[in-house]
């Protein structure tokens, strides 16, 4: 690794935080996305309405604003809830938790649409066949539907992950020690902004390339046994 005036290691530590944040948000987002898509496709009007409001709002406001709202707002919301239960101490939300919440919510909103499309692409006969074999709803979902949804949704999810990876930089604004903030710290002590922001850019590029390779491999694996058109 290049020394970068002794800040090389710092930037690498930042990269670890960035990757951790991205993966934690990915997991939250995938769960939210599946729930959102199921809600949108369910026959219960209230669930549809909740999912639609969620995706419309999150997709309509800037990611930075989501991060800021969660970071500054979640504390008072949590304290409000806690005071109902008689807990009056000060609760603070760290940048990491706020970041995971905000980026997870964002990823989830977009993933909802990806999963919805994928769920709708599964032929009705598959559902019927699974039911005919006597599978219950849960077993049908994770044995028959989910593996196929996964294959259809992967390219879309891969794109979303690349967007998520870049959005992690925004959490540096509320003080998370990721690549961006480490670069900022290095710049303020060395006065060499171009060097350190270029280094940061390169690290993001490396992360992007690695993710692209991994997604490509996963797509191949998910599509084995399927004829390529």
């Amino acid at each position: 690794m290049i020394d970068l005036h002794g800040f090389g290691n710092q930037l690498l530590q930042g990269a670890v935080i960035t990757v951790e944040l991205a993966f934690a948000s990915l997991i939250v987002g995938l769960i939210l996305g599946l729930l959102g898509a199921s809600a949108k496709l369910s026959s219960i009007k209230v669930l549809q309405w909740i999912a639609n409001t969620y995706t419309t709002i999150i997709r309509g406001i800037p990611e930075l604003l989501t991060v800021l709202i969660i970071y500054f707002g979640a504390t008072s919301v949590l304290m409000g809830i806690a005071s109902w239960f008689g807990y009056e101490e000060y609760i603070e939300i760290g940048p990491f938790v706020a970041g995971v919440t905000a980026l997870g919510l964002t990823f989830g909103a977009y993933a909802t649409e990806v999963f919805r499309g994928a769920l709708q692409s599964i032929p009705k006969g598959q559902h019927e066949a699974a039911t005919a074999l006597g599978m219950g709803n849960v077993r049908k979902f994770y044995r028959v539907i989910l593996p196929q949804v996964w294959r259809v949704a992967l390219p879309g999810l891969g794109n979303l992950f690349l967007v998520l990876l870049k959005d992690t930089a925004l959490v540096s604004v509320v003080g998370l020690d990721d690549i961006m903030r480490k670069a900022n710290i290095a710049v303020s002590s060395t006065k060499e902004p171009f060097l350190f922001y270029s280094a940061a850019a390169c690290m993001y590029l490396v992360l992007t390339i690695v993710s692209m390779v991994v997604v490509h491999y996963m797509e191949k694996k998910a599509s084995r046994g399927i004829k390529r058109t």
Partner: protein, 236 residues
């Protein structure tokens, strides 16, 4: 919730929204102008020509917009050559730095959208142009670009929305756009939720307007694809 704060500071939020609109419109227009030659170079037959737009697009799509803004705003000042050049009065201004970063960023995305649209045009139409003896320029001007414009619209609408949301990053280089203005107001009033929510509503409103406009333009541009309504004259 204190709605009175939102009401009393609403005009200032609108000032911020105006800056946001300027940022988005300017960078989208400049971005589209740059994107066309980049897209055409990207589909060039020569690999030597193709590699430059590829690298450009790869860099700007592979790194966070925040890094790009910081590189332009803070990065340029590292070099004395830049500081002594005639561009310094521009590169010193956060507004113009934001415009430069946004333009470079959006032109990379837009170039890919344009490329996709041009390549989506059926080969038969290109062949037809050649058969009737059009030159390359004529073919692009009369057939390919107008056709691509219709194909491009949905994706291009998305790009404008993404740019609108990305423009919030201008607040990190001290610009008083909608987000920047909200943060300034909050520093004075300590009401983060109310003001950020109000800013969010304004962003939502702007994106809804953009979406509505694009729906109309799309309808008009692609009207030849629409349902054919044939009037059957009454017998008799």
């Amino acid at each position: 919730m204190e709605l009175s704060v939102v009401i009393s500071y609403f005009p200032r939020l609108l000032d911020g929204a105006w800056v946001t609109m300027q940022l988005v419109v300017l960078s989208i227009v400049l971005g589209a102008i740059f994107a066309l030659p980049i897209a055409l170079a990207r589909i060039s037959a020569s690999p030597f020509v193709r590699v430059f737009p590829f690298l450009y697009i790869f860099f700007f799509r592979g790194t966070p917009l925040l890094v790009q803004i910081f590189l332009v705003y803070y990065g340029a000042s590292q070099f004395d050559v830049v500081k002594e050049s005639i561009f310094w009065p521009i590169l010193r201004e956060p507004f113009w730095c934001a415009i430069i970063a946004f333009t470079l960023n959006t032109s990379a995305y837009t170039a890919e959208i344009f490329r996709g649209a041009i390549q989506a045009i059926p080969v038969g139409e290109v062949e037809a142009c050649k058969v009737v003896g059009m030159t390359r320029v004529q073919m692009y001007r009369r057939v390919l670009l107008p056709r691509a414009f219709g194909i491009v619209l949905p994706a291009y609408g998305n790009e404008i929305i993404l740019m609108l949301k990305g423009s919030a990053l201008a607040s990190t280089i001290t610009l008083l756009d909608l987000t920047g203005m909200a943060r300034t107001i909050i520093a004075r009033t300590y009401t983060p939720i109310e003001i950020f929510m109000a800013a969010g509503v304004i962003y939502l409103a702007i994106s809804m307007i953009v979406i509505a406009i694009f729906k109309q333009v799309e309808k008009r541009q692609n009207r030849y694809l629409g349902p054919i309504s044939i009037k059957i004259p009454d017998k008799g």
